[in-house]
Symmetry: C2
């Protein structure tokens, strides 16, 4: 854990240094551009840093604590881990535009901040449109910057073959999460046009691409590739990453419906107002009697749901038994994940930490 805490500090320092370098460049172009630095700093302050941790422990799993490690290789891993966090910030900024989410970690989301700037300045046109444009561009900029920082890392690495392998995994991750996000939006709005029998599979596919690969498997495999992982090692990490990442998202889905607003930083029942068609919802629909299902279908996705309506939906989903069912799937997936690395040729310290991380991932309240 001390090693994880140290990594998190180094990642924060890596991000801060990167933004410190950019700040005077932006200032030199125009003073109003400092907004991009300010918002980036706030977005990139704290957070759970799971992606950075999986990247680091993927590397450490292959590389081993005892192995000889050049400072430059270690620096490469910290840069890559920091780049993953910047990429994630970009994805969140764009995601909040798509979801019309006004808060992120209890703070105004980026498009709300830009809209506020517009309002304060007394500018012409719509606050909302300007907010969206500003956030769209901030997301684009952070995408570019994550790529730059990732490349900075690769250049420090002593092995070109490992750098190329890590780059391939990074590229795959970017493409897959973007496509997964699209499938998520499509599912949310088109679910009723697909046969009932396909709902669960479709929700599961969204999880795999939007989340399991992106949040756990890809960071792990990128880290492991930086360390020159063998195919056997990569297979073990993938077999840990996909089920744990699935469990991660299932926990997220539960938090999106039942989470404590104080802890999640999002309004309670946010996913209900948004109408997310998750595995939880697919299971609840399958289990509920016809009239309760009809009510769920009617209310889900109504952005104006009252807190009483949210409570009714929460009770209905809970009473259906879908929550216990999702908890069982989470447990099953975590067991699969831990089993996959139990005897794999990975460093003992990393295996221990990956078991501990699995626990943190599924026990979190935010």
């Amino acid at each position: 854990m001390a090693e994880s805490a140290r990594l998190v500090d180094l990642v924060q320092a890596g991000i801060d240094d990167f933004l410190d370098e950019r700040a005077p460049e932006l200032q030199a172009i125009a003073p109003e551009l400092s907004t991009f630095i300010d918002y980036s700093r706030e977005l990139l302050q704290g957070g759970k840093r799971f992606r950075a941790l999986f990247c680091y422990w993927g590397w450490q799993a292959v590389h081993g604590r005892g192995a000889e490690s050049t400072a430059s290789d270690f620096g490469a891993v910290v840069s890559a881990a920091s780049a993953l966090e910047i990429f994630h910030a970009a994805a969140l900024v764009h995601d909040d535009i798509m979801d019309n989410s006004d808060t992120r970690r209890g703070m105004p989301s980026a498009h709300k901040r830009f809209a506020g700037l517009h309002a304060e300045g007394g500018w012409a046109g719509s606050h909302e449109n300007f907010g969206r444009s500003g956030a769209l561009l901030l997301g684009d900029l952070l995408l570019d910057w994550s790529d730059e920082l990732f490349d900075n890392g690769l250049r420090q690495l002593s092995t070109a073959v490992s750098a190329a392998a890590a780059r391939r995994e990074f590229n795959t991750m970017r493409t897959e999460v973007t496509l997964g996000q699209y499938l998520d939006v499509v599912e949310e709005q088109s679910w009723h046009t697909h046969p009932e029998s396909e709902h669960l599979d479709r929700a599961h596919k969204v999880i795999v691409y939007k989340s399991a690969k992106y949040s756990v498997e890809a960071p792990l495999v990128i880290g492991a590739s930086l360390g020159g992982a063998s195919e056997t090692q990569l297979d073990a990490l993938r077999d840990y990453g996909i089920p744990l990442g699935t469990a991660y998202q299932l926990r997220d889905d539960l938090l999106g419906v039942f989470g404590d607003a104080e802890k999640t930083g999002k309004p309670s029942g946010d996913d209900l107002r948004e109408g997310k068609r998750t595995v939880l919802i697919a299971l609840a629909r399958a289990k509920l009697p016809a009239n309760a299902r009809a009510l769920l279908d009617e209310l889900l996705g109504d952005p104006e749901l009252s807190s009483r309506q949210v409570s009714v939906l929460q009770a209905s989903i809970r009473d259906s038994g879908a929550v216990e069912h999702v908890e069982r799937i989470i447990d099953h997936n975590v067991r699969l994940a831990i089993g996959a690395i139990a005897n794999a040729p990975l460093s003992t310290s990393a295996r221990d930490e990956l078991v501990a991380l699995a626990d943190r991932v599924i026990r979190r309240a935010a």
Copy 2:
């Protein structure tokens, strides 16, 4: 010209090949993802290809036709040029979201296409929101893909130092155009909060970052860097690129107000409805009598302008003398551009072609 025509064909083939490779990967994830390939193909079919051409001629200026050129270096330049066109497609997709532009080259813009898909499918929620989300993700995907293709090019290059230099210029370009876009949006909505005396300078800064560097200077310098340009060569190309790029945008501004919809593929007077605060508008405001200026300020940026109101504004701007003034600035900048390469240590064939390209850039009607 034959060489330019051949390059344009090779770039189209490079883009098509890249999309052909991606298509089965997307199809394997989910059939609905083929939308991304279809829309990308349509977006990337044709266009003026100025960025690809400047990239190629930047390389050729340094490398020279007579010089020994490996097939692999030539392939690197074609890949980089193709990557610039994919990046540009991404920028246009995001730009059309920000500007609420419904058409692009006479066809529905990406967000309109996605909105149409939503409408046809009878999906739940708002067509417009879905359209915007789909286009936002398509833009993100194209940003990632442009980066991948650019990297593919760099890997083919025989000189690592040149590859690193070209990558730096590519990164700078991405950051600067994103920031320039932001300054453009800010200017459009906050111009009235700045002193009159600053309007022209502020409009000029938008041009430099959003357009002059992005459309001409950066592609040229990226190409030249791929060829291992010296500082003297880079300076000459920059001194050609910035004024020509400025002239390019000034022509664009004139087309945005006076262009023929049949040729531009955008409604006539589009920039007036959008309220773009261009150099043309700053000059017209400075020249117009108070009552005409007040009318311009009142109407500019009203998305509901009638075609009669558009005609009134066009006449007012023309009568102010601002159009002739902009034409003079264009001519002046083109002379500066051509002068900058007249005696520069660049290949003769490239110099000739850059002179011809300058003419095409400013004489275009679309």
